[in-house]
Amino acid sequence: MLDKGKISAVQMSLLLYPTVLATSFLSMPSLAAQYAQNDLWMTGILSSFFGLLTIYVATRLHDLFPKESIIQQSERVIGVLPGKIIGILFFIFYIHVTGMIVRMYTEFVSGQYLFKTPPLLIIFIIVLLSSIAVRGGIETLARCAVIFTPILMFSLLFLLLLFPSFDVRNIFPILSHGIIPVLKASALPQSWVSELFFISFLLPHLTDPKKGRKWGFLTLGAIVLSIIYMNLITLLLLGSDTANKTYPILVVFRYISLAGIFENLESLLLAMWIVGNFIKISLFLYVASISFAQTLRLSDYRPSVFPLGILVIVFSLWDIPNFSKLGEHLRYVAPFEIPLVMVLIPVLILIIARLRGIRTSKR
């Protein structure tokens, strides 16, 4: 193995939670509301399907080939050359998605807080820190996650301070437009949840791999609950206006005012946004570096981390010309692109493995 670090199942869970939620949660309610309107809170429930599927596939593959990631597994199942092509595809895709995440992060920070700071500086610092974290190995990443993820989760509880302003009537009428808009709206959360496929890269590091599936599903449960929670609070507070906001969660945080002291909590939001994204970008970069090294059978993944970081910066700047194009990409491309790589390919590999009759590992 390239990285000999060991993490516990709980640490894996704390790594995966921000990896799915950190970037997307800010604009999630409005993107969902554009299709589902006042039924947007249901999208969370429906989106869990792909999560269940991807965790199941990843853990099944890990049962067949323990201690290996999808890159090595695909080489074993479909042969070396096709396996390499899949590996290169994964690697390029991960770099591309990391670039997108960095861009979303930067758009929020420079658009809402630091108007005059050059975006390149904001990009550079976070990618530099993430690269250093990735070079520290999975144990360092996991320890960072144990410290930062609770901050992210705990900050979400502040939304409960808005309780007096909730208007329950905003939920009704339920399903007035039928189920189709809700299904359309859940396409996007589904794509995020399918990022849980990263469990494939973490399972080989678990001290107790048997707990992997259980904690994977628990993570999914926590994520789905958080999505429902945030969607519901936004809906109860903003009602039909949700769809018009760029960052509805930011609006909701600005709304908080308690006893004249607890107000303007958007700085708290910035803090949790930064730490959450740090974990997310680091794990994406880690997975990208590992798949790069495993595809090319390098003896160490660390020397390639900084060059890949530069590649991420380039992708974050060149992929997307401006903010509206980013929104378009999120709405129309991402829901298909991410599940294609994260769910469809692994499912196919598992089916082929089944058809070829591979039941247990050589070991």
Partner: protein, 495 residues
């Protein structure tokens, strides 16, 4: 120096020793004749040996003239010399070693064996209250500069023979005695091996304080955080030994090193374990809070004033703006001026003689506090921020950890002044990242904080009462996991 045997001729031996110790005026050579027939010489270093004891126990009985056959040197030790320890030796190297440790040596004519006598005695400080780690409840003994007193203080607490004390000498010229103490069957023996290996690697000319050793054996020498605990309290040392850690005691300093440690070890005060657990838990939380304040408050203030004014409630913002109206500097410069001044005052307070100490506090309180605000050089809120920060850094029980945190404040202030809240978060992430990758003798520095076994937090988030402290810390005390059988807090009804 190559090994050379003693001669049988006394004169030759004496000449050789005089040659080795040429120009050393503190050596005393006392020639006499044993029982009227054999020439002998007693050599010792003045001030390191007990001259009254030498006179009474060695010279006096030996010089009595008795008729009989002359004794061998071994027999002399058995029959005539009433010193508590005698050690025979045959080489000049041993001779030099005994002499420099204060042991008088006795050489006899026609004998190639000398005798070192356990009559070393020198002036030493008595056991006093530890200065840097004072507390209200708990033992008031502190270590001293003498290694043997320190080991005896530890041995007096842990009486089990499983407490081992391996010794080695480090330093080309100082030949400093270093003792590695651990409790067998509690400690991970590979850890002891690792400590010894690292100590043996040291090839410095002299060790004057355990700080030398600390910097020479730590895992990440460039880190601002101490990776070994320094303590001058025997109870802290013994508590660490009981948790499966290793203590390194060095001759000539009251500061004992303990390894491995975690960040939380630096936040635990010995008193936490002696007073009621509710109080200790509350104090611990207060300490954590003020550690964060000491690290971040000035930078948060600068970031708020320079970038995020909207974060402050408007009534407070107005009063803050009013007080800053006359101040000519930006918040970043103002904060730096005040913080640097405070650090200077603190450092001066440590160095100044006691008589002048009060002058510094007057200057600090009046000139830098009130007068600077009245002159419009700094704003009053900034003085408050700096004062709170300064006080809070002293909440950290380990002085050295407090200094590390105080120093890290400055990069954070710079980051806050240039990038606002984003800069602070980046600094905090970088700091956490550094702490996450830091290790102390193979134990992750944050292991007690980032563990996912909830019960490991019993001595981190709270201070669990002693009847609940049934296990040792996971990473250091894994060989003998249980401190005590599980028991209930309440005594049985019948009792």
């Amino acid at each position: 120096m190559k090994v050379s045997q003693l001669y049988t001729d006394l004169q030759q031996n004496e000449d050789q020793i005089r040659l080795i110790y040429a120009n050393c005026s503190d050596l005393v050579y006392r020639s006499f004749i044993i029982e009227g027939h054999t020439k002998a010489i007693l050599i010792y270093i003045d001030g390191l040996s007990d001259s009254a004891g030498i006179e009474k126990n060695v010279i006096c009985p030996l010089m009595q003239e008795v008729n009989g056959k002359p004794y061998e040197i071994g027999e002399l030790a058995e029959r005539k010399i009433s010193a508590s320890q005698t050690k025979p030796f045959t080489t000049f190297e041993e001779c030099v070693e005994y002499l420099s440790n204060g042991l008088p040596i006795l050489l006899q004519d026609h004998e190639a064996t000398g005798l070192a006598l356990g009559l070393n005695k020198w002036e030493m400080r008595s056991i006093e209250e530890p200065v840097a780690e004072s507390g209200i409840r708990g033992p008031r003994e502190g270590f001293t500069e003498t290694l043997r007193i320190n080991t005896s203080l530890v041995r007096r607490i842990v009486k089990s023979p499983l407490l081992k004390m391996d010794s080695m000498k480090i330093g080309g010229y100082t030949q400093t005695n270093v003792v590695i103490a651990y409790i067998e069957k509690l400690v991970d023996i590979t850890l002891v091996e690792e400590v010894k290996k690292r100590l043996e690697r040291i090839q410095i000319d002299g060790i004057l304080e355990s700080g030398y050793i600390e910097e020479l054996i730590e895992d990440m020498p460039l880190s601002p955080f101490p990776q070994l605990l320094t303590t001058e309290r025997p109870d802290v040392t013994c508590a660490s030994l009981l948790e499966g850690r290793v203590a390194i005691m060095v001759e000539g300093t009251p500061f004992v090193l303990v390894a491995p440690i975690t960040l939380i070890s630096l936040m635990q005060s010995p008193e936490d374990y002696y007073q009621r657990f509710w109080v200790s838990t509350a104090m611990r939380w207060l300490r954590y809070l003020f550690t964060l304040i000491s690290l971040m408050l000035p930078s948060l203030y600068v970031a708020t004033l320079s970038f995020h004014q909207e974060m402050v409630p408007s009534s407070l913002l107005i009063s803050m703006a009013a007080s800053r109206e006359a101040v000519p500097f930006p918040a970043l410069v103002e904060a730096l001026i005040m913080e640097v001044t405070f650090e200077a005052l603190r450092e001066a307070g440590v160095r100044l003689p006691k008589q002048i100490g009060s002058a510094v506090s007057i200057v600090g309180a009046l000139v830098i506090g009130q007068a600077a605000v009245q002159a419009g050089l700094v704003s009053a809120p900034m003085v408050i921020v700096v004062a709170i920060t300064g006080i809070s850094s002293f909440m950290i029980p380990r002085y050295i950890a407090g200094i590390a945190i105080r120093l890290l404040r400055f990069p954070l202030i710079f980051l806050a002044g240039s990038l606002g809240l984003l800069g602070i978060m980046m600094g905090v992430i970088a700091l956490v990242l550094h702490l996450c990758s830091l290790k102390s003798f193979g134990v992750p520095y944050l292991s007690s904080l980032t563990t996912t076994r909830l019960w490991e937090l019993k001595d981190v988030m709270i201070r669990a009462p002693w009847w609940m402290m049934d296990t040792r810390p996971h990473l250091t005390g894994k060989f003998n996991k249980y401190r005590q059988p599980k028991r209930k807090p309440r005594p049985k009804r019948s009792e």
